[in-house]
């Protein structure tokens, strides 16, 4: 009798707890099923299937066979692919710099007091809400060389007598693409930074002012470090979205003129869907994956919390 008690007491104590814990485990996995099932079937499976496709000579309507790294070797010497690669990198890098700068200015402005503040804040986020196909079409029409508004302004302000063939010249088309991307992407940075600004305690600025810090010093020493977490998330999401952007380049120029605005996504689409070379197309879009991983790792490393 005496020998049983401590053990019995222990099991009686531990029993329900363990069972509760087990119940949580089962329930935990159970609740994950719908989400994980969808992600496994429609993300993981196509991802690995895509890797296989990129190593095959598949075409529309027929499963090809394994050809090793043939597709990638072909791309290494394909000038359009190399151009698309460079364009994707510069499209992401240049627009990110502008969105970062303009977004910061927008946030600092919105943090001030001015009339119709709520309206302005709501209005400034609009480009980000509206389906990108539809707003990009509006921009395509604005860039129309003969009948539209951008050149009307250029001509009537006497910058140029004939205007610029924005989307028709290799020199200006990529710039036009970037302008539209910055227009669409800046609000996201602005509003996110604004939310970050509003979490910074006002006393910090007051203390700095007492110590005689200038506006610029306050910005550098207080605002920027306090915005680090916001900066991390915003940069991460935005670079991924810009890097893999298909809609905007496809609707505005679709690679024209002469492949000068081709990015990896549009080139993969043209090769895989229009051209029917699914194997090559899959290998083109797969190139995005290591690049995205590098970008994400880079952003996380540079902006990780200082020890």
């Amino acid at each position: 009798m005496a020998t049983v008690t401590p053990r019995a007491a222990l099991t009686r104590l531990a029993g329900p707890r363990v069972r509760l814990f087990e119940r949580e485990t089962h329930l935990g996995y159970l609740l994950l099923i719908p989400a994980l099932l969808l992600l496994l079937v429609f993300v993981a499976y196509p991802f690995f299937f895509g890797i296989w496709l990129s190593l095959s000579n598949s075409q529309i309507g027929q499963n090809g066979h394994f050809i090793g790294l043939g597709n990638f070797q072909f791309e290494r010497s394909d000038t359009v692919f190399i151009g698309a690669f460079m364009n994707t990198v510069s499209y992401t890098a240049i627009t990110t710099v502008f969105k970062l700068g303009l977004g910061m200015i927008m946030a600092l402005l919105l943090n001030q007091v001015f009339p119709a503040q709520r309206f302005v804040r709501a209005a400034l986020l609009l480009p980000w809400i509206i389906p990108s196909v539809l707003s990009t079409l509006a921009w395509r029409w604005m860039f129309d060389p003969t009948f539209s508004v951008v050149n009307w302004v250029v001509i009537h302000s006497h910058f140029s007598a004939t205007g610029v063939d924005w989307l028709g010249k290799t020199t200006s088309a990529l710039a036009a693409l970037m302008i539209v991307n910055v227009w669409r992407g800046t609000p996201f940075y602005g509003i996110a930074f604004l939310a970050g600004l509003q979490t910074i305690p006002v006393d910090l600025y007051e203390a700095a002012r007492v110590d005689g810090a200038s506006r610029l010093q306050q910005f550098r020493v207080i605002t920027l470090p306090m915005l680090r977490p916001v900066l991390l998330v915003v940069l991460l999401l935005s670079t991924i979205l810009t890097f893999a952007d298909f809609t905007l380049p496809y609707v505005l120029t679709n690679g024209a003129p002469f492949n000068s605005t081709q990015v990896l996504s549009t080139w993969a689409f043209q090769t895989g869907v229009n051209g029917g070379y699914i194997g090559i197309g899959a290998s083109i879009s797969l190139v995005l994956f290591p690049l995205l991983t590098v970008i994400v790792a880079g952003v996380m490393l540079t902006l990780r919390r200082p020890e």
Partner: protein, 297 residues
């Protein structure tokens, strides 16, 4: 007495001057930049609207000032509804966006609750696994996905979009909701458990209602993203009556090199209305949802 008045007058003068200075400072530092930002942001929408009510002859007359309309008319809208399948496209977009949002929300609430609230082995790893799907956007998956959709015989079928949109909605919604679930005090739930509620009951009756603002934010985001999705819809839907708004507009209102700008802009405006309306009613939820991850991260 006279001295006092003069001093007062002097002070009043100084204050006025100060206010003037501050106003001028703010004019250049705040008002003008804000006006500029607002103008550049909104101009394309003005341009959509003004173009959509111009007649073709006015559109192609470059002697006139393009910024204004002389004879506004609704011909473009009439053409859109009676000569194209625009109405079908709107219905398709609504069905697809609504269904994929519902599926994503339900699975994200369950998954988010599980990952944020229940303790079991592998929860953290699975949470990161869900996050990693951000690294495989539709651009990377659309070609193999087309094979899978073909195998499932889902080409030209709503389900092709309803089942694939959650792949980019679930990761986002799950992470957003995990944040909201974590913010709800555990004690509330534990009290319900002590009172004899099951874990599911505690979730449905206590945690979910308290996380409603987050759920609303996630839902609005999911709806907006699915309403505007383009790539999957472009690849999977080729039947003219089954296209969504973005695909229909780009595929069928542009014929080769011919752009029907009046109709296109009318379609762009109408196609933006549902999300713009949703947005205008729930701006604050929208902003909260967008920045929740950012601020907490």
């Amino acid at each position: 007495m006279a001295a006092v008045t003069s001093v007062r007058a002097g002070r009043v003068g100084a204050t006025k001057h100060e206010i003037g200075d501050r106003f001028r400072g703010r004019l250049f530092r705040v008002y003008i930049p804000v006006a500029l930002f607002t103008f550049i942001t909104l101009f394309p929408f003005y341009w959509m609207a003004i173009t959509s009510i111009k007649s073709n002859s006015e559109l192609l007359d470059h002697t006139k000032n393009p910024l204004f309309v002389l004879q506004p008319n609704l011909q473009n809208y009439r053409d859109l509804f009676f000569k194209t399948n625009f109405f079908h496209w709107m219905v398709n977009s609504a069905v697809v966006a609504f269904a994929s949002t519902t599926i994503s929300l339900v699975s994200s609430i369950l998954a988010g609750y599980s990952l944020a609230r229940l303790r079991y082995r592998g929860a953290t790893a699975i949470g990161w696994g869900v996050f990693v799907t951000y690294l495989v956007p539709p651009t990377l998956l659309f070609l193999p996905m087309a094979f899978i959709i073909a195998q499932l015989h889902l080409f030209n079928n709503y389900w092709a979009l309803i089942l694939t949109y959650p792949t980019f909605l679930i990761p986002f919604c799950t992470w957003l909701l995990m944040g909201y679930f974590r913010g709800i005090p555990r004690e509330l739930e534990e009290a319900a458990l002590v009172d004899g509620a099951s874990r599911i009951q505690a979730m449905v009756r206590i945690v979910v209602p308290l996380a409603l603002p987050g759920i609303l934010s996630a839902g609005m985001f999911a709806f907006t993203l699915s309403w505007g999705e383009f790539l999957y819809a472009l690849v999977f839907m080729s039947d003219t009556t089954l296209k969504t708004v973005p695909v229909g507009v780009v595929n069928e209102l542009i014929k080769g090199d011919e752009f029907f700008w009046g109709e296109l802009m009318a379609a762009a405006l109408l196609g933006s209305v549902p999300v713009a309306l949703l947005y205008s009613f729930f701006v604050d939820y929208f902003v909260a949802g967008m920045t929740a991850g950012a601020v907490k991260g």
